[in-house]
Amino acid sequence: MNPLTGYLLVAALLFSIGLAGALTRRNAILVLIGIELMLNAANLNLIAFWRYGPHPEALTGMMFAIFSIAVAAAEAAVGLGLVINIHRHAHTTNLDQMNRMKG
């Protein structure tokens, strides 16, 4: 069990927990939380591969992680903005009721 697999397993676990949260929770914000978790799991993966990868000096993994953090922040901001907007109009954050786009 070398450390890399450890980190990868943790990342996978985190990812699936985030996914479970996103898929099951009713509240929109908690779905976003789930998504944030999944993103962080990905970051962990990146850093782990960077650290134990063949060329740590290439900094690719870490740079990728940093950029991904920035993007995730932007995404969270917009996502939450949307949720607040929906709440103001539909007075609910319950995902099941936001089905106006129904087929």
């Binding site: 996914l19 898929l23 106006r100």
Partner: protein, 691 residues
């Protein structure tokens, strides 16, 4: 392959008049064009235009005649042609052109002069008719067309003017179209001449095929010149005829149609339905003469291959037909009661004489009779016209009588014309021209029958003319109303023509055969000894005998006691069946009615049946099939196609419904599906990777 260029520039004749010969027909035609545009009440201008145009043509014709005369006088025969290429198809090209030679010069002068007189006469005669302008338009068109026929150097141009003449004759005969008889007569005239023209066209085409050109005289290469003729002779046609004689016969058929020879003469008597000037101009002087002129023009072709003095099959046929027509028409003329019909039949018989003269005596004999006949027949017709005019449109001679007292001038000129027609010796031109024909008939090598037929015809001519004169001018006036003399504009042309009826004889006397010399470019030497010729004297004797028998008999039967209007005719009492037959024109019309007309109507019915049953049948069959096909289509369309389509639409909509349920709008269901799909994909990937 450079196409050698055919010299397109018209071969212009030497002299100016020859070059501008085409003006003679062009001006009257132009005049008719202008008149056609004029409004109906513009009567004065119409007649002035027509007469002016024709007098201009007369002037030109006289110049041309003078030119030919001077040419003849100083020894070189004048034959100047001018031709131009009408159209060109590949190598071959069709030329049109006109010719100035003695034959055409004479005809030009005769046609224009007689035409002019008749124009002047008809201003008086047609004064009361409201279609006055239209009449003059047709007349001037006819004059132009006739002059075109006369000057034509190309058979094609001749044929074109020939058709135009046919057209104008139809228009003029049917001028009073509101009269059904006139309309029927016009149609009859047009159709019978058309039958002749068909053969004429066949002849032209054949000639063009053989000789490659239709020009008569074209500096050596013309169809009437020796080179072409020898070629034609060499060609054997069907049934032993040579090409030349076959073509000649075809052209003669055309001429027979137009000149009213035996098989195709039926239309001429009926043509009398037209106004009298028309009958005078067309059915006496000019148009009917066109056929004779045509034969004279193609005479070299007809005569080709004849041994010296001998004759060719074509000419023999012409002679026989001419002789028979002369006799046949004369018989019928005897039993006619309408003044113009008698003259019509007399014209037919005289044309027969001309054809016989051509056939036996050559161009000069035929043409001389044509010229003289043109004058006195025109005179007779105009005389009849003024009689009718005087008797208030009365045409039946039995209702006339004793007009001598009422219309002295007409009576005088009419009697001169009658005497010229009968051929009273020495004094009248009719004698000299008929005498020449009899002389040539007498000398005809093949058989003497035509001679005897012509002699008997002459007797009958004299007989029916005296019958007519006595009916009309002698005895008491049997009509109602009172006749009056015609105005001056009608009587002066009569007088002029009367003068010519007498004077023209001088041209053709054996002593001074000027006419023959002029035509054949021989020397016209004055030799009074010719009169002393025993043959000629014998001929003079026979003519005297003929005339005395004819006139004497006529006067005896009709002249002395003027017959009553209601009583049957003398001959009728004597031989009722013969009279009835003659009066009914020997049932020729009925015969045609039974044969040709019957055949055509039968053929029409057959065609109609074919069309309705056979073609119609096929079309309706096809329609039926398509109908069937359409119904099948509809059935197929509604049940099969629509059915299938509707069912599949249902299918799609139900499956659509199913799919729609998945789009529940809940974001998480989408995510779940996504996740499951990823899992399945990953498993597949690994599984396949591992394998």
């Amino acid at each position: 392959m450079m196409q050698e260029s055919i010299s397109f520039t018209p071969q212009l004749a030497a002299s100016a008049i020859a070059r501008n010969l085409w003006l003679i027909p062009a001006v009257p035609i132009a005049a008719s064009g202008v008149i056609a545009v004029l409004k109906q009440p513009r009567r004065k201008t119409a007649s002035a235009l027509a007469i002016g145009a024709l007098s201009f043509s007369l002037l030109l014709a006289l110049i041309a005649f003078a030119h030919v005369l001077s040419g003849w006088a100083n020894g070189q025969a004048v034959r100047e042609t001018a031709s131009f290429t009408w159209f060109q198809t590949g190598a071959s090209h069709v030329d049109l052109g006109w010719v100035l030679d003695p034959l055409s010069a004479i005809m030009l002068v005769m046609v224009t002069f007689v035409g002019l007189l008749i124009f002047i006469y008809s201003t008086g005669y047609m004064a009361h008719d409201e279609n006055y302008t239209r009449f003059f338009c047709f007349l001037s068109l006819f004059a132009g067309a006739m002059l075109g026929v006369v000057i034509a150097n190309s058979l094609l141009l001749l044929f074109m003017c020939w058709e135009l003449v046919g057209l104008t004759s139809y228009l003029l005969i049917g001028f009073w179209y509101f009269k059904p008889a006139a309309a029927a007569a016009a149609k009859k005239a047009f159709l019978t001449t058309r039958v002749g023209d068909v053969f004429f066209l066949l002849g032209i085409v054949w000639l063009f095929a053989q000789t490659g050109t239709l020009l008569f005289y074209n500096s050596g290469t013309g169809s009437m010149e020796q080179a072409a003729l020898t070629g034609l002779l060499a060609q054997p046609a069907a049934w032993g005829f040579t090409a030349a004689s076959a073509i000649g016969l075809l052209i003669f058929a055309g001429a027979a149609g137009k000149s009213g020879q035996f098989p195709l003469h039926v239309w001429l008597p009926d043509a009398m339905e037209g106004p009298t000037p028309v009958s005078a101009l067309i059915h006496a002087a000019t148009m009917v003469a066109a056929g004779v002129y045509l034969i004279a023009r193609v005479y070299p072709l007809m005569q080709a291959g004849a041994l010296t003095g001998g004759t060719t099959t074509a000419l023999t046929v012409v002679t026989w037909v001419g002789a028979f027509t002369a006799l046949f028409a004369a018989c019928i003329a005897v039993a006619q009661n309408d003044i113009k019909r008698i003259l019509a039949y007399s014209t037919v018989s005289q044309l027969g004489y001309m054809m016989a003269g051509l056939g036996m005596g050559g161009v000069a004999v035929g043409m001389f009779h044509l010229i003289t006949h043109a004058f006195f027949k025109a005179l007779l017709f105009m005389g009849a016209g003024s009689v009718i005019h005087g008797c208030h449109e009365e045409q039946d001679i039995r209702n006339m009588g004793g007009l001598k007292k009422y219309m002295p001038l007409t009576f005088a000129t009419y009697s001169i014309g009658m005497l010229a027609l009968c051929g009273v010796p020495i004094l009248f031109s009719g004698f000299w021209s008929k005498d020449a024909i009899l002389e040539s008939a007498h000398g005809w090598p093949l058989s003497h029958a035509p001679y005897y037929m012509l002699v008997f015809g002459a007797i009958l001519t004299a007989f029916y003319m005296t019958r007519q004169v006595s009916y009309v001018f002698f005895g008491a006036y049997r009509g109602h109303g009172h006749p009056h003399e015609s105005p001056r504009s009608m009587t002066t042309p009569l007088a002029i023509l009367a003068f010519f009826a007498i004077a023209l004889g001088a041209l053709g006397t054996p002593a001074w055969p000027w006419f023959r010399a002029f035509l054949e470019n021989g020397a016209a030497v004055v030799d009074f000894h010719a009169f002393a010729e025993p043959a000629w004297l014998m001929l003079l004797l026979t003519s005297c005998v003929i005339v005395t028998i004819g006139i004497g008999l006529g006067w005896m039967l009709y002249g002395s006691k003027s017959p009553a209007a209601d009583q049957p005719d003398v001959i009728e009492r004597a031989a009722p069946p013969l009279w009835a037959a003659l009066r009914d024109r020997l049932y020729i019309d009925e015969f045609y009615g039974v044969t040709v007309i019957a055949f055509y109507s039968w053929w029409a019915r057959v065609a109609d049946w074919l069309d309705r049953r056979v073609w119609g049948g096929i079309v309706s069959l096809v329609a039926f099939v398509f109908g069937l096909w359409a119904t099948l289509n509809r059935f197929l369309d509604t049940n099969v196609v629509d059915g299938a389509f509707d069912k599949s639409c249902e299918e799609i909509s139900t499956s659509g419904g199913l799919l729609a349920r998945i789009q529940s709008g809940r974001v998480q269901t989408y995510l779940r599906l996504l996740a499951l799909a990823v899992v399945v994909l990953a498993i597949l990937l690994f599984w396949s990777g591992r394998a």
